[in-house]
Every structure is written in structure tokens, then in C-alpha cells.
């Protein structure tokens, strides 16, 4: 298969795949946009505590229409619910929690990720764009593991996994793992390692579309392909 003609998995499949890598007992922030989908795939019988930076740990699923409460929203300003065991706190405490390294995992969308783990997800640098950073920089520097969820290729077919970010950075060397529609990559000290291929892609194909020297770390024995929690 050649170039952009390969088909990746869709976002819901990718969200479900990421959900598998979130161990029970984790404290997790799911960023605005696609990462929010992951909550739909976290097993309901596991205790995974979701954080929203606007002041809640123990965030629950979307409310029914009757339950919508204007005082109970997530970072994307959508209505949510609270679970038993929840706790509210103010913004300085919430960001202290993030900056202080207490969250186990955050999952963020991205415009670009570099092979060194640099993240660009807040600004395209376009002169006409209204810049908005929100809590992205705090999450990127603060969580113990930063997962990125994104399409491997942009709409114009260019790779979002890059040698060096051309967009303004959110934070340098902060990304642990990149989940794309075509493969999962670990950021290692030796460069990006493909740890799992998704859809009908291949390591060869991934090297071609990204133009990067990717390390092939896909387990050769299918029985061993289930990736557990990130190391």
C-alpha cells in the first residue's frame, strides 16, 4: 500500500484502543475534542478517576437533558456529571495538581508532535488566528505521561508526526506516546518507535508517509501484541 491511500481506524476505534492503556486507579485528564471520546470506552466497573481542569476530580458521563446543570461542565464547557467520590476545588488548586505532577495520564490532541516528543497543539501561528492556550501547556508539562491522540496525516496529506515542529510549541519533550489512526508510537531516547500498527498500515508505509526514521518495535508474535499500560 502506498502513501495516504492506506486507511486508518476511525476515532471511536482509536479511543477504545487508548482506553485499554489506562489502568485502573489512574488519575486522568482527557483533553478537549477527540480525547473526550475515550471516556465512552473506559470500563464502567473500573475505578478510573477523571480530572477536568476547571475544578473536578471524579467527573462522570454526559448528563441526560433533565440533569444538565450550568454549574457542572468540563474543560470543553460541555455539561458533565459527578461520580461518588468526586471532589471540587478552585483553579489554583486544580492547576497545582497538574503542574505538581499528580495526574498519571493526560491525553491531548495535537497539530504536530516531533520525534523528540515536542508538542504543538495550541496555535497554528497564522497571523489572523485568535490565539488561545487554555490549560494545554499546564497539562503538557504536568502529567506523568502525556498521550497524544491525532490523525497521522493532516487534511492535506502531510504528516503531523515531524522531525521538528513548525507550529509554536505547547511544551518541549513532553509527549510519552502518540496514538494515531494508523499506528501507535512511543517517544524514546532513540527516536520514535512504532509499537503497534493499526488499520491496514505497515511500518514501511509509516516511514514513507512521515519521512522519519521510525524504530520498528512492533512485537513479532501476535500473542504479545496487547500493549498494557505505557511504561
Amino acid at each position: 500500500m502506498k502513501g495516504a491511500s492506506c486507511r486508518g481506524v476511525d476515532r471511536r476505534v482509536l479511543a477504545a484502543r487508548i482506553a485499554q492503556d489506562i489502568p485502573e486507579g489512574s488519575y486522568v485528564n482527557l483533553g478537549i475534542g477527540a480525547p473526550t471520546l475515550i471516556s465512552n470506552y473506559l470500563p464502567g466497573d473500573l475505578d478510573i478517576v477523571l480530572h477536568t481542569e476547571n475544578g473536578l476530580l471524579g467527573m462522570g458521563p454526559e448528563p441526560t437533558a433533565a440533569e444538565v446543570d450550568p454549574d457542572l461542565i468540563n474543560a470543553g464547557k460541555l455539561p458533565v456529571t459527578e461520580l461518588p467520590g468526586a471532589a471540587y476545588f478552585h483553579h489554583a488548586d486544580s492547576f497545582g495538581m497538574m503542574r505538581g505532577g499528580h495526574l498519571d495520564i493526560c491525553v491531548l490532541g495535537a497539530f504536530q508532535v516531533s520525534q523528540a516528543g515536542d508538542l504543538a497543539n495550541w496555535h497554528t501561528g497564522d497571523a489572523g488566528a485568535v490565539p488561545a492556550v487554555g490549560g494545554a501547556m499546564d497539562l503538557a508539562i504536568g502529567a506523568k505521561q502525556v498521550f497524544v491522540m491525532m490523525d497521522l496525516l493532516g487534511r492535506d496529506g502531510t504528516s503531523k508526526l515531524v522531525a521538528e515542529c513548525s507550529y509554536p510549541l505547547t511544551a518541549a519533550r513532553c509527549v510519552s506516546r502518540v496514538y494515531t489512526d494508523r499506528a501507535i508510537f512511543d517517544v524514546t531516547r532513540y527516536g520514535l518507535a512504532v509499537i503497534e500498527v493499526l488499520g491496514d498500515s505497515s511500518v514501511e508505509h509509516l516511514r514513507e508517509v512521515t519521512g522519519l526514521d521510525l524504530i520498528d518495535a512492533v512485537p513479532k508474535h501476535p500473542a504479545a501484541t496487547a500493549v498494557g499500560s505505557a511504561s
Binding site: H90, G128, A132, M137
Partner: protein
């Protein structure tokens, strides 16, 4: 007798001068002090600097103040939203100044102002364009930028309940920036749904002690907050 309760939002915002820096709580509309901002619109102060997480939603609250041309500068973390058309237009036409601050640095700068901290080293934003022109330092192998406190002349905050001493409790994620902003302004004004009797707020659960609050105004119970509001209380 201490009573910080004033009769209406107009009294609550009286005395705000042209050129003031106003801290406004809220994350989107949750905790956003719309009644106070409406009163500020009537009150007339202009040339304002507004510190708020967002730069207005829809056409009410901060957005209405922006639209009326009363704000010179916005200090915020996330101006761009699906319904931030008022700000977006002013920004694109160069009619408003923007200082973009990562959300955690914004919260911490406000806390520092309230807590008498002269400056602090934060890792957030290090190595990015928001660090441009800022002092940096490596501590324990990690890069930090030096950030300074952010003081307000006035804080306008939205809370849930108050007593006459100005003690405040908040409700769910509407708490957000209220507690830190209350500490960071010369004059803090709170709008709450209802004022309760002194002693009715459990001292263990007060989030903003009254020492930080100068004026309180009750704006009435809101609909759709059913969980702790008896029907008889809804009409205010």
C-alpha cells in the same frame, strides 16, 4: 455589626473608576458574574483591563462589556471559542489588546497577588512563545520562567451562598477562579444566589472567608439548580 450585603448590583459596582483592572470569575458562563457585569455596563467605567479565563461568550456578561467598547485590554488564557464573536471581531480589527497567559499561570499569578508572593518560577510555558521576554532559570535540571503577581483593583465574582460577613461557598465547577480572584483585588464584590444567616454556613466548608470580600449582593435563585433548592426558595 459587619454587613457587607448591598441591596442591588448597582450599589455593588459603585465607585469603579475608568482605567481599573477588573478580575472577573467564570469558566465560560459557569461562575461568571453576569449581574455585576450588567451593572458595570450601566455604571459607565471605561478603559478597563479585564482579567478573566475567557474573553466573553455570546452577547452577555463580559461580551456585552467588550461590545460597548469599555475594555482596553483582556488578560486571559482562552479567548477563542465558538461563541466569542465579539472579542474575535475587536481583536482582528486591532481594537483590543490581548495578553495571553496559560491558564495555570493565570491562576497562580492571581494566587500570588493574594498571598503576598513577590514572584514565582513556573515550568508552564518554558521554551514556548509565551515565555518571550521573560526571565528564565534552570532549577534542579528543569527550566522555569519567572512570573509576577496579577493584582486587581476590583474582583467581580460569582458564588452560590454568602453570609453578611462575606463568607462564600461556591457550587460545583462554578467555583473555578472565584476563590483566587477574591484574594487578589483591592475591592472584591460577590454576586450570590442567596444570602443566608450568619452561622448558617458550616465553618468547615467556607471556601472564601469573608476577610477577602467587601460587598455581597443576592441575585436570586437560578432555575435548573434543583438539587439543593426547595421550591419555596426559588422565588426571590
Amino acid at each position: 455589626m459587619i454587613s457587607k450585603v448591598v441591596s442591588d448590583p448597582d450599589d455593588a459596582v459603585s465607585g469603579i473608576e475608568d482605567g481599573s483592572t477588573i478580575l472577573m470569575s467564570g469558566f465560560g458562563m459557569a461562575g461568571h458574574p453576569v449581574a455585576l457585569i450588567d451593572a458595570l455596563l450601566d455604571q459607565g467605567a471605561g478603559d478597563l483591563t479585564v482579567v478573566s479565563n475567557n474573553a466573553g461568550n455570546g452577547d452577555t456578561g463580559l461580551a456585552a462589556l467588550l461590545k460597548a467598547g469599555r475594555v482596553r485590554k483582556v488578560i486571559c488564557s482562552f479567548p477563542r471559542q465558538s461563541d466569542s464573536w465579539v472579542f474575535d471581531g475587536l481583536y482582528r480589527s486591532g481594537e483590543i489588546e490581548l495578553e495571553l497567559v496559560p491558564q495555570g499561570n493565570l491562576a497562580e499569578r492571581l494566587r500570588a497577588a493574594g498571598a503576598g508572593i513577590g514572584a514565582f518560577y513556573t515550568p508552564t510555558g518554558y521554551g514556548t512563545s509565551v515565555a518571550a521576554g521573560k526571565e528564565t532559570r534552570t532549577i534542579g535540571g528543569r527550566g522555569y520562567i519567572l512570573e509576577y503577581p496579577l493584582h486587581g483593583d476590583y474582583a467581580l465574582i460569582g458564588a452560590f451562598r454568602a453570609d453578611r460577613w462575606g463568607n462564600l461557598v461556591y457550587r460545583k465547577t462554578a467555583r473555578n477562579f472565584g476563590p483566587v480572584m477574591a484574594t487578589a483585588a483591592r475591592i472584591t464584590v460577590a454576586q450570590v444566589d442567596r444570602v443566608v444567616g450568619l452561622g448558617e454556613l458550616d465553618p468547615e466548608t467556607v471556601v472564601t472567608p469573608g476577610i477577602f470580600v467587601d460587598r455581597v449582593v443576592a441575585t436570586g435563585e437560578r432555575h435548573r439548580l434543583h438539587d439543593d433548592v426547595a421550591p419555596a426558595e426559588v422565588a426571590v
